[in-house]
Symmetry: C2
Subunit: 412 residues, 2 copies
């Protein structure tokens, strides 16, 4: 019982201050509405600083961070090479009336790196690119309907939400069709039933949803989906916002052996600098050009400079291989540790972005208690969201994580 | 005939490089599809650096920039105070799993500064906040319909576009009602005809649309709209993305003597650092809390630090007054110069964000030729979009602008 237990008194003070001026105090993945993701009483509300794989909260507690800002931290927080490139560009200028040529350089490196990319279009949110992808598919095909795989997440625009969510109308989701992932027969049937009406199929490379074990594509599934979309002249959209660059620098479609028509990137694109990208095939270039789509900060040059250096470094490191190794080592260690304590810890998804669940208890409460014990001892995990590996995570960090897990299982 | 005429050979080279990897080469306001905004052969495509009120293109030409990155540049490019605050935060961290308390500080200063703000919610695009505002209004009222004033611009989400635009469906705009600006009778009639069905009225503080003279609110118009919304229990949304902080630091609703329920900010919020904010009234706080709305970079701390310093500096300077004075001096000088050459130059909107049109020629061609002569001589204007004043614009810059205008009118 050696690891100190974190106290969060300053976090709580700050949270009470936040409650006065911010709806819910903290929002996004962290708000009380989504509190099930994080063990509320066990986790810090506000961070003070970050470096490498660690962040420190306002009470001075240090965390080995397996959320990586929900993805953007891929090389380690405050990576010196990326920050130096960004700082150099900032001296010149960032958000200027005319774009910097860094925009071209960034598009060139994406086109060189991503197998299915003939062009790149930059925005700010992952959701900007999923919406642009759907608009592109509709404009190109002159069809309305979009097929989703159940358990999807494509951002927060109304068309991506559910009709019973507050603020969402039936019109927002009127052209959505939902099919189980890996169920090719059902997908083919849906295409039959909606002949000539399906503009696109949109999907993550594999199902990394919340509150559920991650599901990898069945053998041949993507290849059949690709052929069906081609045959039926529907656009195949890959939402690689979450998995992008962690599995394969050439795109997660390349990793699973197919080519998407449009591919959406965000999180790992620039190590946290604010930029997203839609990449696509030549045949959709003119369609994208004809859409009305722009934003106040979309030409900002600093994130382009950061993104160029981030991708160059990921290529130099052959990063996906390293993330796979680190994730595998962590996963094997955690599973063995759980087994020692007679717990059945399931680790699903790919090791670079893995999902955790203790399978001994269907209520999830046991799992949540274990996560709480981990977080209180400085290992930042969440309950029911996938986790992320970054380059700065060392063998020693993994070893510490497993030692903490050992103690956390003991006290359950 | 003293001013040198710019050459754009490197810009053209870079544009040709861009065409290979970016749809249209340049997009947003600058793409060929929108080419009417800028005198294409007369303007630079790519910038090299920026400082104060100037930017330099890749051919080394310097411009006095009246577009201010389409708004974000409000204190001058690379403002040293804002950049220092941002750099200090960057040393600590930017996009981290848990937010920085800078988020709270930023919300506090907005609540202190903006008259109609009881809380603030941060995102990345102006359009993130207009969409959130509409969702909030729908969730609160449990109604569907949204009233727009003709000539509106509220971003690029499908619901803000027109049904005949590519990629847009009739479902996207099925609940939109369009009413002429300043036509209170028509608005009241629309409320009668859609009794109990109108969730919100959304509007800019005045009409600063493209291709048309800007239109200020008629006397008492906003007060009547405010009362009608209150009486009919509809939410009044102010889209202050473009005008915000340039007219009044307390919000453009405050400037025109009313209070909106929700107010959308972006461009001038952080002098170009990438952040937007929805502010609102107490009665909508819980509704916003209950929506599903988040993004990968929305907790980034560097833009919060920049925004805090930007707003503090704008307050210290009493900036709107200065921008009004600078804009008025420029406007008076340009109009007098035009008159000397027998041109009727109309300057509409507020001086801090003015719209230009030479009224002698309905075809707009004469106006476009004049703008081209200005841009070729280093005065960056666009044809049919409003312009922006920033703090770094000096009397000498204004004098130079009028001297160039004199020459440009001469050569027409």
């Amino acid at each position: 019982m050696g690891f100190p237990i974190n106290k969060y008194s300053k976090s709580m003070e700050e949270y009470n201050r936040a409650l006065k001026v911010i709806p819910s105090g903290i929002y996004g993945h962290l708000g009380p509405a989504e509190g099930c993701f994080v063990p509320v009483s066990a986790f810090p509300f506000f961070s003070e600083r970050a470096k490498g794989t660690y962040f420190w909260d306002v009470d001075g507690n240090r965390f080995i961070d397996y959320m990586c800002a929900y993805g953007p931290n891929v090389l380690g927080y405050n990576d010196e090479e990326v920050d130096a490139a960004a700082a150099k560009q900032r001296e010149l200028g960032d958000c200027i009336t005319s774009p910097s040529t860094k925009m071209i350089d960034f598009a060139e490196i994406l086109v060189d790196t991503v197998a299915s990319a003939d062009w790149a279009f930059f925005a700010k949110n992952g959701g900007d690119t999923t919406t642009l992808a759907v608009m592109t598919a509709r404009a190109f095909t002159r069809r309305k309907k979009i097929v989703f795989f159940k358990g999807y997440y494509h951002g927060v625009a109304p068309w991506t939400q559910k009709v019973d969510y507050p603020g969402i109308l039936e019109e927002d989701v009127a052209n959505n069709i939902y099919v189980p992932f890996n169920d090719y027969e059902k997908l083919a049937q849906v295409f039959e039933e909606n002949k000539g009406e399906i503009a696109a199929v949109i999907s993550q490379p594999y199902m990394h949803g919340n509150f559920t074990d991650n599901v990898l594509p069945a053998d041949g599934f993507w290849q059949k989906v690709r052929k069906l979309c081609t045959d039926k002249e529907a656009v195949l959209i890959l939402d690689d916002v979450r998995a992008g660059f962690r599995l394969d620098l050439a795109g997660s479609d390349h990793f699973f052996g197919f080519e998407a028509d449009l591919i959406c990137f965000c999180k790992a694109l620039a190590n946290g600098y604010n930029v997203s990208a839609l990449c696509g095939k030549e045949f959709l270039r003119n369609t994208v050009s004809g859409l009305t789509y722009t934003g106040s900060y979309w030409l900002s040059a600093v994130p382009f400079a950061a993104g160029i250096t981030c991708i160059e470094k990921m290529k130099r490191l052959e990063l996906p291989k390293l993330l796979h190794e680190k994730g595998t080592k962590l996963k094997d260690g955690l599973v063995a540790c759980a087994k020692k304590h007679n717990y059945d810890l399931r680790v699903t998804g790919m090791p670079a972005l893995f999902y955790l669940r203790i399978a001994n208890d269907d209520s999830l409460m046991l799992h949540q208690r274990w996560i709480a014990e981990m977080v209180k001892r400085g290992i930042y995990l969440t309950n029911h969201h996938n986790h992320f590996i970054n380059y700065a995570l060392s063998d020693e960090d993994i070893q510490t994580t497993i030692e903490v897990a050992d103690e956390a299982f003991s006290v359950l």
